[in-house]
Amino acid sequence: MRDWKRILFFVTAAISALAVVYVGYVHVLASQRRKVDDVKDFREGFGTRDTLPDGWNVHAKGNLVAKVSGGVLRVEGSGKAGDEILIDLPPRRFEDSVVSLAFRTPPQAGIEYFVGVAQLGEPPRALTTGWVSGPEPILHFGGDTSGPYREMRAAEDVKLAGFGGDAGAEITKGAPSHTIALQFTPMFGHAAALVDGLPVTSAHSGWLQATPARIVFGVRLRADVPDLRAEIESVALRTLDWTLPSFEDAFSGEFVDPQRYGVHFPDPDLGTLDMRMAKGGGLLMHARSTAIVAEHVPLFMLRTTPFPLRTAKITADVTIERLDEAAVFFGLMGASAWTPANRVFDVGVAKKGGKPAEVFGGGAWTGTGGLSFDGGGTIELPKRLLVEMRYDAATSTGATFVDGKPLGPPHVLDMKALDFVAVRIGADGYSASSVCDVKIHKIAVEQR
């Protein structure tokens, strides 16, 4: 009897001790996590302020000064090349997000407005994008993009005058103010720079979700400016949602919504991509390869933020203006560590070797993870196509249609319900002379 009582006491004491230690541990984790809080959406427009918000730190190089007045953050003074005002914000755990900076176009040349993110630690690792003023404005994008296993750097200066056709011209002419933004999607290992809502360049980035980091922004001089008058209108951050709601997008606005899309540019050594909003609606993508390569080169990819796959109907209205030694494809791609990006379900058009353009369906439906294809016949280019894709989550079955006609039989896909996926339109080139001109009239995603 005494043994029975001792065992009972021991067991109940162990349960209590475990519960107490568990609660204590939750408290430790919670308190430690809050030392660097999760990132939250914000926008600071300065408004009626006369000082910077609490916790914002100003770091000055040279004789530049920053002050808040008249609803803007002014950076003034007489500066030399290399002088800088850098303002950092309290650290946060970073998630997929877009950091943006709105500023007034400066009258002088050689002024760089920049915004980005700097990881905590020594030396700080930063990734920024900046607008460099001048007769031919430049978008600078670069920094440390290293991941856990690989050290990498990105550095690129894009001449905005030559970018994006009409849109590029609009960007560089006459607008009183501009917005630059840095889009982080660690889920895709991707970072992109945008000007006035138009993606301009991107790079592979090994930055991770929940990395403790600070937003940094400011003004730096690339030339001597005796009477600097730079004005920053706002700084903002918006996190990206992983639940892509149903939508229909005719690209009739002035920008590609960074909350919904990411654009992957080709490696600058291998290809170029010009993209712009067409007058009257639609998104024009003009990509070409620029290097001597015999194998496929990713030319571009426009993809949505990741979302858990449900029963869905996905449509794209596209005009394929020109394809030379290239393929363009539209469909679904895997978008998580456990649903890899090469697990896809696409409708594509390929043209190579001087043969007519061919329509094909392609995807992972054999149960092996490998790709299989359905033939869809040849077409004459240019050609406007209405591509439709239906996915039934209950049976994992996918079916594709081109201009209302089925492209091959329905397939049981290796993509299952709730797998994280993204909708994409992309193009690959096959040679040094690959060209892909596509106009995307509309993308619609209808989920149930």
Binding site: A30, W338, G369, K416
Partner: protein, 497 residues
């Protein structure tokens, strides 16, 4: 004095408990699928993990639902503490799905079922070595070598089933040997307990069948007396009785698995049959659930390669061969030897024949873990042979423990790659340590992509620098093992007092 004596005897598990609790090696598909099944059983009262299947690639697909593809034993056992934690969340008003609450649950389930099992296996190993006739000093050394100088250390910090299986198997062996020596092996309660333990090991890790078979056959043989051996009728009666009691203990455990299987799949089937990831499925369809003929690449990779080689990562295990020789030569513990030799042979064959011999994201060939105590126990006999042998064992133990500490500190789930080209220890672990990086596992049990805060250690969690956090662990080890030596040296010799 009694306190000091207790502390000396208890220091192995105290130090192991501190060390295993110190490191949280984060999530991975294996742990995520086991955790998700536990969560499904407790929260949704369902056998499938469909709503959260995106957490892991280790899953099966059947009747439009996803299931954990691992042997479910650990997940079954984890339901009790998991339910306690959920109840505690309710009482304290904590959101059970908040990140800290989820991490804390994963941490404690890992600590109980991997860390606790690792501690238990180390303590049992010391007990077994002493029981077999090794000195206390050598037994303590090999137990330390097992706990910190082998891959038992990293796998005591992640929610895999191997350490639990190792603990249960070793427990069964120690029970059988001790009861045999005491003449009480044939008691129904003992045989039933053995049946339950073997069944539990089986439903925690199916490959433990390779270790259960020789242990079971030997145990059956041990239950037969000399008199029964001479009389066929008595022999058959005894065997039937022993088997019956073993089955009486084992069947209820196995029945839980069978019931779960019918609940999940509508019939009895192993979860691996329905594995959904195409890459895994392609391999599992070869041989018997992926086990084929021995391959050179697996043999080299498992034993000596810098990629996953157990001897490369744990040089103290190079003494396993001479340890076995010393054990045989010593003439001690012959019954245990008859279990150990075939178990080691079968496991080596299995390791060299399984398609996933490298263990996926792993430190060393993790599938060896259930049999690892038997690779280590013989080393005690070698260490007992001479002072030089002891010092060699001690030296290799220190080197192995250093390598393992570095691996655990930096990354347990080391990436897969080319067997002949990859060297995760020198390519990843050492450089990262040099740059002051620890806990770099980014796999997360709760989201299907990398996170910077997926793994950590208690030192860095509480604000220590990465280097300081490791020094703290080394200091605790030194304090536990060097301080008594120093105190002993400083104590006046009684002969001169």
């Amino acid at each position: 004095m009694a306190w000091s004596s207790w502390l000396r005897r208890a220091r192995l598990w105290i130090v192991a408990a501190f060390t295993y609790a110190f490191f949280f090696s984060g999530g991975d598909p294996n742990g995520a699928t086991r955790y998700s099944l536990t969560e499904a059983l407790v929260v949704r009262h369902a056998p499938d993990i469909t709503p959260v299947h995106w957490r892991t690639i280790d899953k099966g697909y059947k009747n439009y639902k996803f299931f954990a593809d691992k042997a479910p034993g650990l997940s079954f056992l984890a339901t009790a503490p998991y339910a306690l934690f959920r109840a505690t969340d309710r009482v304290t008003g904590t959101d059970p799905d908040s990140r800290e609450a989820q991490l804390a649950k994963l941490y404690f389930l890992t600590l109980i079922f991997a860390g606790g099992a690792g501690i238990g296996a180390a303590v049992l190993l010391r007990r077994l070595a002493i029981f077999l006739g090794a000195s206390e000093r050598s037994a303590e050394l090999v137990a330390f070598a097992y706990a910190f100088g082998t891959i038992a250390f990293p796998f005591s910090t992640v929610l895999f089933g191997h350490q639990l299986a190792a603990f249960v198997l070793l427990g069964a062996l120690v029970l059988a040997l001790e009861r045999r020596a005491a003449g009480t092996l044939t008691r129904p309660s003992v045989l039933a307990a053995l049946g339950a333990l073997w069944s539990l090991a089986l439903i925690v890790e199916y490959p433990t069948a390779f270790a259960i078979a020789p242990a079971g056959i030997a145990t059956l043989a041990w239950t037969v007396s000399e008199e029964e051996r001479r009389d066929k009728r008595l022999l058959l009666t005894r065997l039937a009785r022993s088997l019956g009691w073993i089955a009486a203990g084992g069947i209820p455990v196995l029945a839980v698995h069978v019931v779960f299987s019918f609940w999940a799949y509508g019939k009895f089937a192993l979860p691996y049959v329905y594995v959904s990831e195409p890459y895994f499925r392609a391999h599992m369809s070869g041989g018997l659930l992926g086990i084929g003929l021995p391959k050179r690449i697996a043999t080299v990779g498992t034993l000596v390669s810098p990629y996953r080689g157990i001897l490369f990562l744990c040089p103290v295990l190079a003494l396993s061969a001479v340890g076995l020789g010393a054990w045989i030569v010593s003439g001690k513990g012959k019954p245990a030897l008859r279990v150990a030799v075939p178990t080691l042979a079968i496991y080596l064959l299995f390791l060299c024949s399984y398609y996933a011999w490298d263990g996926g994201g792993s430190t060393g060939p993790r599938h060896v873990l259930p049999a690892l105590p038997l690779f280590v126990v013989g080393i005690a006999f070698f260490a007992d042979r001479s002072r030089a042998a002891f010092l060699v064992t001690l030296g290799l133990t220190i080197v192995s423990a250093g390598i393992m500490l570095a691996n655990v500190a930096v990354l347990v789930q080391q990436p897969q790659g080319d067997v002949f080209a990859m060297n995760p220890f020198y390519d990843i672990v050492v450089p990262k340590l040099g740059h002051g990086v620890v806990a770099m596992n980014t796999q997360d049990a709760f989201v299907p992509f990398g996170r910077a805060d997926a793994s950590f250690n208690l030192g860095t969690l509480l604000g220590l620098s990465p280097l300081s956090s490791l020094i703290l662990v080394a200091c605790v080890w030194a304090l536990a093992y060097l301080l008594p030596v120093v105190r002993g040296a400083m104590r006046p010799d009684p002969a001169h007092a």
